[in-house]
Homo-oligomer: 226 residues x 2
């Protein structure tokens, strides 16, 4: 990492630039995922709502990039870093092909949720302006409420669908935790931010516990067995 | 169509509501197409640029809907109308599966272009506020310049690629004109707006001539044989 660009821009956190690149890559991945969900929506209002959510994902991308450059990241290096995270995040989509609209909604809710929670854990380890800038894209965009409202009638009326979606949710969270583990293994700086300095077995276990706890809360909101 | 909602909102043009629904459907279709192109982009800056162009497609959707409701369109009727146009526009994508990134760019440029030109012809037949509102989403969003700048080096350096893309461009325009013909056949109000009152053979021929002329201009910009 080269020197910071100006006063106040210095951020000594280990992994700060990796964290910003991950947040940027995730914004782009969520844009693509929500846009693709919108294209598969069975009716117009859903399509419009999801298209708008997708577009909203890009709102703070420029601020994240600008801040990374202010911290001293070279434009090309930072682009490369975003691209690398993009590849890792796209594996998630390649491995999980939903069979219908409901599985698609569950996949995005559960998968999006776990990667978002991981980023929140990472951003909690940051300080100052970097923490502020990186936290903006992680705010709730209403997607969870939308999915719960859409699936609730189906899940309560059709036990077979509920059983199938519960099974699917377990597959999705498995892949999500796999991506999470790989991400932290490849980027120890992010592991330190998310799990704590030292990155001990106890700390990683506690982090995984927090992530699976949030996952269980989402499954419960859907009335699905976690 | 029921009575207009307020003073100044009345628009007597035949097909005004169909025109607004088509414009809204096209915004959603272009959002999806550009977002899908972005997801296939070979590098980050292109991916970001196309994602932003996609998001920009939604900017005037609400104004179009609000105006249609002010003209007296029932919310559900107008939604149904948008959905019907969406189905027609999506045939274009189902029939043309690009084999690589270059074919994808040509497809969007040529296909997007011809449907946009058709809408411009339709909007030219409108008057007053409806014309103003419907014209906003049809402004140039820079996609053509982007495609020309990206493909120019490839096309000038590789004659075989140029020949293949010229052939592909002819397939794309064929499908585009097919969609156009079907659209006007199913919606005589739109045909009247685009081709002129009476919708005579001469008028339709002149319209087709204008559309193919604009297509030829795009192919020329790409240095491809039309």
């Amino acid at each position: 990492m080269s020197q910071p660009a100006g006063p106040g821009a210095h951020d000594p956190s280990v992994g700060a630039l990796d964290a910003l690149a991950l947040v940027a890559a995730s914004e782009l991945a969520n844009f693509a995922r929500l846009a693709d969900d919108a294209a598969h929506a069975p009716e117009l209002r859903t399509r419009i709502a999801l298209s708008r959510m997708a577009a909203g994902e890009l709102a703070s991308l420029e601020a994240v990039e600008t801040h990374a450059h202010a911290l001293g990241a070279g434009a090309e290096d930072f682009d490369d870093s975003i691209w690398t995270f993009r590849e890792l995040l796209s594996e998630f989509d390649a491995r999980l092909v939903p069979r219908d609209w409901w599985e698609r909604l569950v996949k995005t809710y559960i998968g999006y949720g776990i990667v978002l929670d991981l980023q929140r854990e990472i951003v909690n380890g940051l300080t100052g302006q970097t923490r502020e800038v990186a936290a903006v894209p992680l705010a709730d965009n209403g997607h969870g409420d939308f999915v719960v409202a859409t699936l609730e009638p189906v899940i309560s009326a059709e036990p077979q669908v509920a059983a199938r979606l519960a099974l699917w949710g377990r597959r999705v969270v498995g892949e999500g935790l796999g991506i999470t583990a790989r991400l932290l293994a490849v980027h120890p700086g992010l592991a330190t931010l998310a799990a704590g300095p030292g990155w001990t077995v106890e700390q990683v276990t506690a982090l995984t516990g927090r992530l699976t706890g949030e996952h269980a809360r989402r499954m419960k909101r859907l009335n699905l067995t976690a």
